[in-house]
């Protein structure tokens, strides 16, 4: 997702079984149907991403964000 892009979470996939990172992401609100937005990206290689979910902003590395599949809408 590009900076400023918005979308809706489709799913959070475990990269291996009982993936603690995926579980934590779900706890933080990355669940199906939740709108997300990429607010900013890190200065080096666009990593990490700053993601808005609900009323909260989380910094996620690309590897973490890759677990979240998103249906992208047009950039807002």
């Amino acid at each position: 997702m590009k900076k400023g892009a918005t979308g809706v979470v489709a799913a959070v996939e475990d990269t291996y079984s009982a993936d603690p990172i995926a579980r934590r992401l779900r706890e933080l609100g990355f669940v199906q149907g939740e709108p997300v937005r990429v607010v900013a990206r890190g200065p080096l290689g666009g990593d990490p991403l700053l993601v808005q979910i609900g009323y909260t902003r989380f910094a996620l590395r690309k590897a973490e964000a890759a677990r979240v599949s998103v249906a992208v809408e047009a950039a807002a």
Partner: protein
């Protein structure tokens, strides 16, 4: 634990950075550290207060957690206490769940998860003033009936802001059941989060269900004009900008070092003049007792007075650190630097513990408890002593003031400030290098998590900042009056006895115990340019680094021929070569660390091996760096 059997045991639980500790301080009148980032509180803290009815209520402040499915050591403490599994600690009679009223989408989920524990609960909607300002309206009565628990509004940072909560707690019935929970050894802290998945962890389906409930609750009880604060968006657009953001970060850091030198200087001169004047005055009173006079003027005033001069600098440094902590900027800095730190084998989360280590490595190492990944945590602990702690500042400034001219560089900067910045930078660069080596040596290369919340910005509260400065000043003065005083007197004794033989040609200290020890050590340290006086000062410097300065002051005061009373800076400027001074500066970048730091590493990692690794590599690097510095400087001199 149960001194007051009938009193209610209350635990403050909630998401990170929702204001639990501020509420704890408000209720108990305590002054626990608060700041604006997740993971300030890493230990349970206990306090008590008397409700208006006269009941004594016991309050427990717990580290923030996103869920009971703990991902880091500090979250594990919260989980264990809530579930009544913490050794020696019964489960609380009542959970006060604290939620940030501006961040309910996230925080209500944890409320619902806690509710499943089935314990009596009260929900405190904190920062309700900030929510008001953003136009967020919460129907408390509707929320109360929907959740089936009392809901109160609080403003932890305001006088009387917790009155509604106190009234609610006071009306709670006394616990009916005997406390449950395993008695036994008070194990301070489990080395790592033990299990990743406790039996009660919600499954994916349950998780979706929890979130669905939160959405339904919000829709029914909260109106929110805008998901984020407009101010935050505006500030973040600049501060997190790939180019402007990094430039701002560099400027902020550089400003701090300039300020430490230039703002503190007048205050420092005042302290120094006062110490010198009172030393001369007291010395005059004791003229009839030469031995006591020597102890007081050469030992105590020369030694401790020299250290005392650095109080203004330490306070200026802390002023900046406290304001940054309160503002919410630190997690942004961590965001900007994460990639760099990740490449070096650390994580953006290491940024805050490492920044605290500029004050002192001990709180810095404790703060690593908020790092979830045990590998990242260990690396951060091992490199934390490389951050220049405030105890090293006296050594740096003494040497810089004595040897580095006050030139202007490029018309704006002072050369002394630039050298200081370079020394701090050398510490940071070597920390990154060491972390990188550790990463290379590590066999387990699986994923590391970041997942870090960026909080809303907040105006630093002047009272909290002043309180923080006052606390720092007290710690410093207590050190000066305690361990530094004791070591200084001991060193004076070793430097004054045995008395020189008759017909001695050298100053008396050359014949003393300290003189002998120093000269013996000097054989080892000669290749890096340390004279025997420096060697003498290194030993007490292990107990507390500032002592190195007071020790040098004592040693030189006693070495001075016929009591010619020159300030330490002047004395060393006359006697040391520039190469020696630079070599000592390089030594202190790595500085075989103080005993208390080693003790904290032992406690936090539960391993002597890590202590030996840390002490060994620091000593090795210090010697190597000093050797190179000394030899190169001599070649150019």
């Amino acid at each position: 634990m149960n001194a007051v059997a009938s009193s209610l045991r209350i635990a403050l639980v909630g998401n990170p950075n929702c204001g639990k500790t501020a509420l704890f301080n408000r209720l108990t009148g305590a002054h626990q550290k608060v700041a604006n980032y997740a993971g300030v509180t890493v230990e349970r803290k206990e306090g008590r207060f008397v409700a208006p009815s006269g009941r004594v209520l016991q309050l427990l402040d717990l580290p923030g957690a996103y869920s009971l499915d703990a991902a880091s050591p500090d979250e594990a403490i919260t989980r264990d206490i809530c579930e009544g599994r913490h050794p020696g600690e019964p489960a609380p009679d009542l959970i006060v769940c604290v939620a940030d009223a501006t961040n309910l989408r996230l925080h209500l989920r944890f409320v619902l998860e806690l509710k499943r524990l089935g314990r009596p609960m009260v929900l405190a909607l904190n920062m309700i003033d900030a929510a008001d300002k953003r136009g967020i309206r919460i129907d408390t009565a509707a929320l109360e009936s929907a959740l089936g628990m009392p809901v109160v509004e609080t403003i932890a940072v305001k006088q009387g802001g917790a009155a509604a909560l106190v009234a609610r707690l006071d009306a709670m019935p006394a616990p009916s059941t005997a406390p449950v929970g395993a008695p036994g050894g008070a194990m301070l802290f489990p080395p790592e989060a033990k299990s990743i998945a406790p039996s009660g962890a919600p499954t994916e389906a349950e998780e979706n269900d929890l979130h669905a409930q939160v959405r339904a609750l919000l829709a029914a009880t909260v109106t929110m004009p805008r998901a984020t604060s407009a101010t935050d968006d505006a500030i973040d657009a600049v501060v997190l900008h790939p180019v402007a953001g990094l430039a701002i970060l560099a400027t902020v850091m550089f400003l701090i070092f300039q300020a430490v030198f230039s703002w503190a200087a007048p205050l420092q001169d005042a302290v120094s003049a006062a110490v010198a004047a009172s030393g001369a005055w007291v010395g005059g009173l004791l003229a009839s007792m030469p031995l006591l006079q020597s102890l007081v003027t050469d030992g105590i005033f020369a030694g401790l007075g020299t250290v005392l001069e650095f109080l203004p600098q330490i306070l200026v440094l802390f002023l900046f650190i406290l304001v940054l902590e309160e503002s919410g900027y630190l997690p942004r800095a961590a965001f900007l630097l994460d990639k760099l730190m990740f490449k070096a084998g650390l994580t953006g989360r290491s940024f805050i513990p490492l920044l605290s280590s500029f004050a002192c490595a001990i709180p810095g190492i404790m703060a690593t408890r908020s790092i979830a990944d045990p590998r990242d945590r260990l690396t951060t602990i091992l490199v934390a002593p490389l951050m220049t702690c405030s105890a090293r500042l006296p050594v740096y400034t003494l040497l810089i003031a004595a040897f580095i001219p006050r030139h202007d560089v490029l018309g704006v900067f002072n050369l002394q400030g630039v050298v200081l910045f370079t020394l701090y930078f050398a510490g940071i660069a070597s920390a990154l290098a060491v972390a990188w080596v550790i990463k290379r040596l590590r066999s387990d290369k699986s994923d590391h998590a970041l997942i870090m919340e960026l909080p809303s910005y907040r105006m630093p509260n002047p009272r909290d900042v002043l309180w923080g400065l006052w606390e720092r000043a007290k710690i410093f003065l207590r050190r000066v009056g305690g361990i530094l005083l004791a070591l200084t007197v001991l060193l004076w004794f070793l430097s004054s006895f045995p008395a020189p033989p008759d017909g001695a040609t050298q100053p008396p200290i050359d014949y003393s115990f300290a003189g002998h020890i120093g000269k013996w050590m000097a054989v080892v340290f000669a290749p890096i340019g340390f004279n025997w006086q420096i060697c003498v000062a290194l030993i007490p410097g292990l107990a507390a680094r500032e002592v190195a300065v007071s020790s040098l002051a004592t040693v030189y005061a006693l070495s001075a021929a016929d009591g010619a009373d020159a300030a330490l800076g002047t004395a060393i400027a006359a006697q040391w070569s520039l190469a020696t001074a630079l070599s000592l500066l390089a030594w202190y970048v790595f500085a075989p660390q103080c005993m208390s730091t080693l003790a904290v590493i032992r406690r936090e990692t539960n391993s002597w091996r890590n202590v030996w690794i840390a002490a060994g590599y620091l000593f090795g690097l210090a010697y190597l760096a000093s050797f190179v510095t000394y030899q190169v400087a001599r070649a150019f001199a």
